[in-house]
Symmetry: C2
Subunit: 288 residues, 2 copies
């Protein structure tokens, strides 16, 4: 059994970033906070907090954070049903950068009384985070279920290849040919991002190797396209208005890349996350 | 001495993500690529490439990438001066998420013939990346110079605290008081982001602990503000138009947070980066 007051002290240290901040947050003395954390660490037989500035969780501490979140959610539901005020503890969720840049924020804004801790998954490591218990759920660009998780389909995210009109005139005067693609700089998120390559292979029917910038941000890829740095592939909802207004050109209206999305939630916390699951299922893009 | 053909093979494997891709890129056989990489690894006495899919550099390999980039830039300048066509090799630079979301892309778009590899530094680790030689330069939210680097000031990035009109009516009916801040959810980038806290302490004159969402993206913080999830602190250029149009409210026009920016460039590659240094100095925000 984990002492509830000790767990609250632990959460408060992580939230405040320091032992004295946690004491202020809880309205107790700093030595009371230290004592509770020490007791918890002895009880669990492992260090939970690195005494850095700001204080940071150890690996075991991160696992305990998820436990504290799940417990917090269950208690919040209970308190709400009993008409009592709810405590604050953020809920850690992994999100792909493209989903975060498009439909996720308006969806989560509909959940009342929950603080979110969004981990941008730009390295395809949601499965690792879920398996390690570092996040309670993940919006992934894959429909492969992670062991121990429920995977609910959220439709598909549809992508358009685009570039600025000047860039098209300069690099694609004869259309998007294999030869043009070998020299026109592409805009890629990072080394794990294969969307540009997938689009180029669909458009030309051949394997291609693209000279590319790595941009590291979905919005910055749109900006770089507008500034004429290269051609890119971004979610339809981000670039369609810019194509409609003539600031960007759709490189080939017949070629779209689609990635399946799913909401993966650790089975042990699924009931506590029902409200979040509902808003995500309602707001998700359903292109098919 | 490092064999130039072997270095080109190494860069091509990293770029293409595979040995056969590198072979296609260079127009040689796959066994020629393997042989060159093996020779380079024996020569340097260390593994350079992890044989994963995609192929990834080891720590030593990442260090060699920066060497290859610096060499590539010097050769590019030489070739340009001799009127010869330039090769492709991305230049690795660290950038803060807020700078990437505001002024950096239009600036870099003015540099012709260079491919950029932007590493979003959302964890304050630019100094480590520079010291380890993993990036050639970094745009940092600090004016503390990193050993071995030239630090050039780029002015200050100015921040505004904002929220949606409905959020203000609900959470700040009597203004941004200490008591209101203790309950109104804030929007924070990640656990290292102290901007909201700094702003709140300037606005109230007291130490505060804020209940907060962690959002992980500069643009998503603006979106979350618009959706009424919380109040946030974002660069002026991103939120000022939304304040002017009435979609967001400036929480206190008398309180602004400013962070000093600098361009830190490893001294050994500084001459090769002169063109990039020039565009950054020209485009940087100079609020003072």
């Amino acid at each position: 059994m984990i002492d509830r007051a000790a767990l609250a002290a632990f959460s408060a240290v992580i939230r405040a970033g320091s032992f004295d901040g946690a004491a202020a947050l809880l309205g107790v003395t700093q030595s009371a906070v230290s004592q509770r954390i020490r007791g918890l660490e002895e009880n669990l037989g492992t260090a939970l907090i690195l005494r850095t500035r700001p204080a940071a969780p150890t690996d075991a501490g991160r696992r305990l954070m998820v436990h504290a979140e799940a417990l917090g959610l269950l208690e919040r539901d209970l308190l709400r049903d009993l008409g009592l005020p709810a405590p604050d503890a953020p809920l850690r969720i992994a999100v792909t950068a493209d989903c975060l840049a498009t439909w996720v924020i308006p969806a989560l804004a509909a959940v009342e009384g929950v603080l979110f801790d969004l981990v941008v998954d730009d390295q395809d490591h949601s499965a690792d985070l879920l398996r390690a218990g570092e996040v309670a759920g993940a919006i992934t660009a894959s429909d492969r279920p992670v062991p121990g998780c429920d995977a609910l389909p959220l439709g598909h995210l549809r992508y358009i290849a685009f570039a600025a009109p000047d860039f098209v005139a300069r690099h694609f005067p004869d259309g998007v040919t294999l030869e043009a693609l070998a020299h026109a700089p592409a805009l890629t998120f990072n080394r794990k991002d294969r969307l540009q390559k997938a689009w180029a292979e669909m458009a030309t029917g051949a394997r291609v190797i693209l000279p590319t910038h790595y941009i590291g941000s979905t919005h910055a890829i749109t900006e770089a396209g507008l500034a004429g740095m290269g051609w890119g592939v971004n979610p339809e909802t981000l670039v369609a208005p810019l194509i409609a207004s003539g600031r960007l050109v759709d490189l080939n209206p017949h070629v779209r890349v689609e990635t399946p999305l799913s909401w993966q939630v650790a089975r042990r916390v699924a009931p506590a996350l029902a409200a979040v699951t509902r808003v995500l299922q309602r707001a998700a893009p359903r292109t098919r």
